[in-house]
């Protein structure tokens, strides 16, 4: 979409996400890099390890997800456990299901 910056590693757009409180469809829900809750308003930050609402090694984790998508050819199905989260720690909270 025009107007949005290009990020490296690329963000992953998730279709079908809904706000867990209002139920409103969230057309802009993405998986992207970030370490703390302040790094997101409603998207999910991806990381490898973390505690107390933080994740680290986010760039490596995001690259790993992009590698899976690129190898598969996409689109992939993302299963998120425990609602729509803002901080995702791989591999326990997120399963990427390849076709």
């Amino acid at each position: 979409m025009d107007g949005q910056r290009v990020y490296a590693p690329p963000r992953v757009h998730v279709e079908g996400a809904r706000d867990e409180f209002s139920g409103e469809s969230m057309g802009g829900y993405q998986l992207h890099v970030g370490n703390r809750r302040d790094d997101t308003i409603g998207c999910a930050c991806i990381g490898e390890t973390g505690s107390n609402g933080t994740v680290s090694n986010s760039t490596d984790a995001m690259t790993a997800i992009n590698n899976i998508i690129n190898a598969d050819g996409g689109p992939i199905r993302v299963r998120v456990i425990n609602g729509v989260p803002r901080m995702i720690q791989l591999p326990t909270a997120l399963s990427i299901i390849q076709r």
């Binding site: 025009d2 706000d19 057309g27 308003i41």
Partner: protein, 193 residues
């Protein structure tokens, strides 16, 4: 009756589609008039629970170059762009990807005009008490350049705290902001261990 309602909705959509784009006018010439037009469009009462992506404001913002130029204006210290952007964060709640870009640009705005930032945020939160913005949502998101960089992030947060301490008024909000950024530093320090 249902037919009449659909005709009415169609008429509204038709009127909206024919409206000139106030956001484009604003980013091309950030005047008080174009700012007022944007604010007016943003305050236009929505009919029912309309998805944000169906609104005229969203379509206008997504026209080529408009959103990017708006966030650039905010980042380079345009106060009207910063003010309208605070409203946009909540308006774009279903588009958090865009809201996050605005938040990062408001953080840049703060660095050039810290007192103005606090004044705008205080006014916004006073007038929108049911959907107020947390200071660290705007100042704690340092952007993609700081991801996985605890030391650089701590230094940047300390610079922002120093700027906050230099402000002479809006004392209560200032203290809240400082406290929230200090909490952010503690989180980063925990990640270093």
């Amino acid at each position: 009756m249902r037919f009449m309602f659909l005709v009415f909705l169609g008429l509204i959509a038709c009127i909206q589609s024919q409206n000139p784009n106030p956001w484009k006018a604003f980013v091309e010439n950030p005047s008080k008039d174009s700012f007022s037009s944007c604010k007016k469009e943003l305050e236009y009462p929505l009919l029912g629970n309309v998805p944000v992506e169906s609104t005229a404001t969203f379509r206008h913002l997504m026209e080529p170059g408009v959103f990017r130029t708006l966030t650039d204006l905010v980042a380079t210290g345009n106060e009207m762009a910063a003010e309208i952007s605070l409203h946009l964060i909540r308006f774009l709640r279903a588009r958090p990807d865009l809201g996050e870009e605005i938040a990062v640009s408001v953080g840049q705005f703060f660095k050039s005009k810290p007192a103005s930032f606090l004044s705008l945020l205080e006014t916004y939160n006073r007038e929108n008490s049911n959907r107020s913005l947390r200071c660290s949502t705007l100042l704690g998101n340092l952007g993609a350049d700081f991801v996985d960089k605890p030391l650089e992030s701590i230094e940047e947060l300390e610079r922002r705290i120093k700027l906050l301490k230099s402000i002479q008024d809006t004392l209560q909000l200032k203290e809240q902001c400082i406290m929230q950024l200090e909490e952010a530093i503690v989180e980063w320090q925990r990640m270093l261990k």
